[in-house]
C-alpha cells in the first residue's frame, strides 16, 4: 500500500497525557450501587422497605381512623372497603393499627441496631487494634455474653426494667452489640497489618486516629451488612417479646402485640392474626434479601 510522504513526519510529543488518570472515577458508593442494582431480589426488598417506611410515617396521618378510636358496633369485622384490614375486638381499624405497629416495630428495629452497631464498633475496634491482653480480656467478656441464648437474658432484662419502648430498645441493644463487636474485631485484626496502617503509624498517627480514620472506614462492608441483617432480628425479637406479653403495653401497638391480641380469637377472625404476621414476615424477608445483595455487592473480591 502506498503512503504519502507527509505521513512520515514526526509528531511532537505532548507531555500532557502522561499522568492522566487511568480509570474513570467511580466512587466506592457508586460502584456498590451499580452491583446492587443488578440484583432484582435485593432491589425488590429495598423497594418494599421504602414503601413500608413511607406508609408507616404518612399512613396513619392520612387515614380517617385513629388507632385508638374504638367503635364497638364495628368490632371484629373482616376486611372490607371501609376497613382494609378489618377491625379488632374493640372496633379499632386494623389497617391503621398495623401501620402504627410498623412505626413502633421499625423504630425499635432501627434504633436498637444502630446503637448496638455503634457500641460494637468501638468495642471491636479497640479490642482488635490493641490485641494482646486487652483483646484477650475483652473477647472473653464477649464470649461469656454470647454463650447465653439471647432470648433468655432479654427476657430477664425486660423483667428487671419492666416493659416499655425504651426498655425494649436497651435490652435488644445489649444483646446485639456482641455480634457486631466480633465482626469488627475480626476485620480490624486482618487489616491492621496492611501497609497503609503502617504508613499511618510512620507519619505519627495516634491509635485513635488510626482506628477511626483508617481501620473502621475500611470495614464498612461487613458493618453495613451486619447492620442490615440486625434490623429484622430486632423486629422479630421485639415481636416475640410483645407476643409473650413482655413488650409493648397497650394502647401502643407493635406487630407482636397485635399478633398477641389476635391469638384468642384467631380461629374465628384469622385476619386479625394474618395481617400483623404477614407484616413481620415480609419485612424480615425484605431486609434479608437486601442484606444478601449488599453482602455480594460489598465484597471486595467480586469487584474489579
Amino acid at each position: 500500500m502506498q503512503y504519502s510522504k507527509d505521513m512520515f513526519e514526526f509528531i511532537p510529543k505532548e507531555e500532557k497525557n502522561y499522568n492522566r488518570v487511568v480509570r474513570p472515577s467511580l466512587t466506592y458508593g457508586q460502584d456498590v450501587w451499580r452491583m446492587l442494582r443488578k440484583n432484582k431480589l435485593a432491589m425488590g426488598g429495598l423497594v418494599f422497605l421504602i414503601i413500608i417506611v413511607l406508609a408507616a410515617i404518612f399512613g396513619p396521618m392520612l387515614s380517617k381512623y385513629s388507632y385508638t378510636a374504638q367503635n364497638l358496633d364495628f368490632a371484629d369485622i373482616g376486611p372490607s372497603a371501609q376497613h382494609w384490614f378489618g377491625t379488632d375486638k374493640f372496633g379499632r381499624d386494623l389497617f391503621v393499627r398495623v401501620l402504627e405497629g410498623a412505626r413502633i416495630s421499625l423504630t425499635i428495629g432501627f434504633v436498637a441496631s444502630a446503637l448496638s452497631v455503634f457500641i460494637g464498633i468501638l468495642y471491636g475496634g479497640i479490642s482488635g487494634y490493641f490485641g494482646g491482653t486487652v483483646d484477650n480480656i475483652m473477647m472473653r467478656i464477649v464470649e461469656a455474653i454470647y454463650a447465653i441464648p439471647m432470648t433468655i437474658y432479654v427476657i430477664l432484662i425486660m423483667v428487671v426494667l419492666r416493659g416499655g419502648l425504651n426498655s425494649i430498645i436497651i435490652a435488644l441493644t445489649i444483646s446485639f452489640w456482641v455480634t457486631m463487636a466480633r465482626i469488627v474485631r475480626g476485620q480490624i485484626m486482618s487489616l491492621k497489618e496492611q501497609e497503609f496502617v503502617l504508613a499511618a503509624k510512620t507519619i505519627g498517627a495516634s491509635p485513635l486516629r488510626i482506628i477511626l480514620k483508617h481501620l473502621i472506614p475500611n470495614c464498612l462492608g461487613p458493618i453495613i451488612v451486619t447492620l442490615t441483617l440486625s434490623v429484622p432480628d430486632a423486629i422479630f425479637q421485639e415481636a416475640f417479646l410483645s407476643f409473650i406479653g413482655l413488650g409493648i403495653a397497650p394502647p401502643l401497638a407493635s406487630w407482636g402485640s397485635l399478633a398477641s391480641d389476635a391469638l384468642g380469637g384467631y380461629q374465628l377472625y384469622p385476619y386479625q392474626l394474618v395481617f400483623p404476621a404477614l407484616a413481620i414476615s415480609l419485612t424480615m424477608l425484605a431486609f434479608n434479601l437486601l442484606g444478601d445483595g449488599l453482602t455480594y455487592a460489598l465484597d471486595p473480591k467480586t469487584r474489579r
Binding site: V21, T27, F196, T202, I203, H214, P217
Partner: protein, 325 residues
Amino acid sequence: MEEKDTLIEVKNLSKFFDVNKGMFAKKKSYVKAVDDVSFIIKKGETLGIVGESGCGKTTMGRTLLKLYEPTAGEIIYNGKDIANLKNNDMLPYRRKMQMIFQDPYASLNSRMSIGDIIAEPIEIHKLMNKIERLERVRYLLNKVGLNPEDVRRYPHEFSGGQRQRIGIARALAVQPEFIVCDEPISALDVSIQAQVVNMLEDLQDDLGLTYLFIAHDLSMVKHISNKIGVMYLGKLVEIAESNELYKNPLHPYTKALLSAIPVPDPDMALQNKRIMLEGEIPSPIDPPEGCRFRGRCKYAMPKCAEAQPELKDMGGEHKVACFLY
C-alpha cells in the same frame, strides 16, 4: 572531598519475635529477625540493603523507624539514641524519618482522597492551616510529576506507578531528612521502575535526603546506592561501597548472590560462571550455633560452627563477617 556528617548510626540492633505465644509455653522460641546489626549512614547518602527471604531487611527497616520495638541495641539519630523512646516522644522524629512502602495498592487508604492522604502528616504534626496545607499538597503533587488538579481523586483511579508517587509525596509532606525505601519498585513494571528510581534520585539531590534502600533487585540497588550491605538470616555479612562490592565481593554468600543475578546481556550471560548454592534458605526460627551461612557454604571450617564471625574492616570501608579473613 568534604567529610559528610553521620546522620544515623545503628549499633548492635536486634529484633527478636516470640514464636511460642500463650501463657503455657514452656520453652521460648525466637525468630531472630535482626541480630546484632551495626552500620552508619552519612547525610545525603544512600545505603542499600540486599538479601533474600528471611534475611530481616524489611524488619530492620521497620525497627529503625520504631514501628517495631527493638529487642536490643541503639539507634542513634543525629546524635540521639531513639531506641528506647516511648511512642509519645517519637513524634518529632516521625517528622524527620519517613517510609515508602512496597505495595502501591495496599499502602494507600482506599477510602481517603489522595489530597487527604498526602496532607495527613501535616495535619498530625499541626504544621499549617487548611489553606496552606492545600497549597503544600498541590506543590508536592507537582513535584512527583502528578497533576495538582487531581487532589480530590481516590487511589483506585491511579496506576501502580502513580500510586507509588503518591506514597512518595506523602513521605515528603513534612520535610523529612531520612527515608526508608522498603522495596519501593518491586511491584512495578520495568519501564515504570526507572521513572520512580530517577525521581527518587532527583529528590535526593534537590532536598538533600538520606535513604535506606531495601530491595532484592541487586541491579537497581547498585544503581541507586553509595554503599550496600548484604544481610543473611538476620546478620549483616558484608558491607562496602557499591562498585567495590560488585567488583570485589568477599563473603561467600555475596559471591553466590552476585553470580546468581541474571544479567540482561546474552554474551555476558554465557561467560558468567554461576556459583551454585546448594540447598534452601534455612528457617530463621532458632538458627544454629556459629555462622548462619555455614550450612550452604563451600568453605565451611570447624571454626564456623563454634562462633559467629564479627564484621572485620578490610580497608576502604569494606567490612566482612567471615572466618576466611
